[in-house]
């Protein structure tokens, strides 16, 4: 069971609270690993258990060869000794302390040159001139930088980010994300990033773990996950707009029950096929029936987006199919007219039960 000794972070924990069972196991090396899941899936609880502010019922947490928690050996290091940094959505700055006092709190007591380190961090995070300000007098961006500086002066071996941007508006979010990404690039160690926002996760992390109902469904590199999510939950979380129940009807053919469309697939279909998924931007508008999976469907409605329009299609009252078109393609379409579409074989996602 000496698993994880050579790994950077190994987590295998179980925790029951109310009628919810958390049961996660994963490893992470020098990277940014994202835990992606809808709210209440246990991702924040996982972080809290790793930080040591919540206690799992059983399991093991090992960081760089140090056992932080091991229920069988009765080891449970207090958060103070774990060398783990936490960053919350509200940054959790100490409101009663000035900016410099906040950062000083993070500097270990035995550090030989506290003021030197403080000055260096204030400069590297461009916080000069704000030393005597209280958190309530700082902007959101400045608060994040203080929180990052306070965390990093403590030289944590692992960084835990709990939905750091979920309370921000789009513009500020983008800016702070860039700052965080560049900070994480310089940081030598593992970061765990918890979020329910797929775009954010895609931009920030290297690998993504999909969580549902307290369990990790899959862990894969972000490219693989968005290209080929192996679970339906993964497809939903990565923003797959079209999902239908499916039935096998031939070697490489399925019937999408909700849409009542027969689809030709790239690979052989197994018998236990349960769902089929197609991303809206993978459905093309075409006039020629030589393409794969060519259909002629009714236009029911449009949804206008910032850069493109979403057209809602259906064949004879079946469940709708969403397709994304650029505003160019879109020009002469009317509700109740027909639209020719094609779906490339390789873009059909199959989910098995």
């Amino acid at each position: 069971m000496e698993k994880g000794v050579f790994k950077i972070l190994y987590v295998n924990i179980k925790k029951k609270f109310k009628d919810f069972q958390l049961n996660v196991e994963f490893e992470s090396k020098d990277e940014v690993l994202a835990l992606l899941g809808s709210s209440g899936c246990g991702k924040s609880m996982t972080l809290k258990c790793i930080a040591g502010v919540e206690k799992p019922d059983s399991g093991q947490i090992i960081l760089n060869g140090r056992t932080l928690y091991d229920s069988s050996k009765k080891i449970n290091l207090c958060p103070q000794k774990r060398k783990v940094g936490l960053l919350f959505q509200n940054y959790a700055l100490f409101p009663n302390m000035t900016l410099e006092q906040n950062i000083l709190m993070g500097i270990p007591k035995n550090h030989p040159d506290k003021l030197g380190l403080l000055k260096e961090k204030i400069e590297s995070f461009s916080l000069q001139g704000l030393e005597k300000k209280y958190p309530s007098q700082l902007s959101g961006g400045q608060q994040q930088r203080v929180a990052l500086a306070r965390m990093l002066v403590n030289s944590p071996e692992l960084i835990l980010l709990d939905e750091p941007f979920s309370a921000l508006d789009t513009y500020l979010r983008w800016q702070l994300e860039q700052e965080l990404v560049s900070t994480l690039k310089d940081y030598k160690g593992t970061s765990l990033f918890v979020s329910h926002n797929r775009d954010e996760v895609y931009r920030i992390s290297n690998r993504i773990a999909i969580m549902k109902d307290g369990k990790i469904e899959t862990i894969s590199s972000k490219k693989d996950l968005f290209k080929n999510p192996s679970s339906m939950n993964g497809a939903i979380l990565t923003g797959c707009e079209n999902i239908s129940r499916a039935k096998k009807i031939g070697e490489k053919r399925i019937l999408a029950l909700d849409w009542n469309l027969e689809l030709e697939c790239d690979e052989s279909v197994l018998d236990n096929i349960e769902y089929v998924g197609i991303r809206a931007h993978h459905i093309d508008h075409c006039n020629d029936s030589i393409y794969d999976n060519h259909f002629n469907l009714n236009i029911i409605d449009f949804i206008e987006d910032l850069f493109n329009k979403i057209v809602i299609l259906s064949s004879n009252g079946n469940a709708p199919l969403y397709i994304k078109l650029s505003k160019e393609d879109f020009k002469d379409l009317n509700i109740n007219s027909k639209l020719d579409i094609s779906i490339h074989k390789k873009n059909i996602l199959l989910f098995y039960c």
Partner: protein
């Protein structure tokens, strides 16, 4: 007019508030960190608030009286608590304690959990977190609780008369003086003490409201 009740009351209330302040905050801290016995501790700490003050006084009498263990022990050093000035302080402590405890507990519980979590991961000890983060960030409420406890201590009557009695110049507080004056048919004197008590209590409540509504601010503008 004999002024001793004012000074006896103020002395008892001030000393009692100082002791209650520390006891109340630490009991609140102790109670919120409990898991299983939280309800029991909470009930015990709040009991003096809901019991009739005479019952509190009676229990104190049983606990500290000449025939009790503590009473006998103190008597061997020639100390008698019952009917002494110390008794007025003890009575005030016991009745004002639940107010301090409850306000402090509410205030400490309201400190953002994430702040405490972060402080832990930064390596601050639990005691440091308590003193440097939890107390300063619930400062206004704690002060409000202190004022409330002071006002309660100042107005204490039932337990005081049970354990400290009504000895003019020694244990006769303002609240007891009102009672005595009415008993003696001295309306004028009763009005005077009533007036003084009302003024002090009212001033305390105004001060309390200032702290509760956050008019007294500490950290930058607007609070956090």
């Amino acid at each position: 007019m004999e002024c001793s009740p004012l000074f006896i009351s103020l002395k008892a209330a001030i000393i009692a508030t100082c002791i209650t302040f520390i006891l109340g905050i630490y009991s609140a801290y102790f109670s919120i960190r409990l898991n299983k016995l939280k309800g029991l501790a909470d009930g015990l700490f709040t009991l003096p608030l809901v019991l009739p003050p005479t019952v509190v006084g009676f229990l104190l009498l049983v606990l500290l009286g000449k025939n009790s263990l503590i009473g006998k022990f103190l008597l061997s050093y020639d100390i008698s608590i019952v009917f002494s000035a110390t008794a007025t302080i003890i009575a005030s402590i016991v009745v004002s304690f639940p107010l301090m405890y409850r306000t402090a507990r509410g205030a400490l519980e309201q400190v953002d959990k994430n702040i405490i979590y972060v402080a832990r991961t930064l390596g601050l000890s639990e005691h440091e977190i308590f003193l440097k983060i939890m107390i300063p960030n619930s400062f206004n409420s704690i002060i409000a609780g202190t004022i409330l406890a002071f006002a309660r201590a100042l107005g204490e009557f039932g337990a005081t008369i049970m354990i400290a009695g009504n000895i003019p110049g020694k244990t006769q507080t303002m609240a007891v003086a009102v009672y005595s004056a009415v008993q003696a048919g001295n309306r004028e004197l009763a009005y005077k003490w009533v007036g003084i008590i009302v003024i002090i209590s009212f001033a305390s409540m105004i001060l309390l409201n200032m702290f509760e509504s956050g008019k007294v601010k500490k950290h930058g503008k607007g609070g956090f």
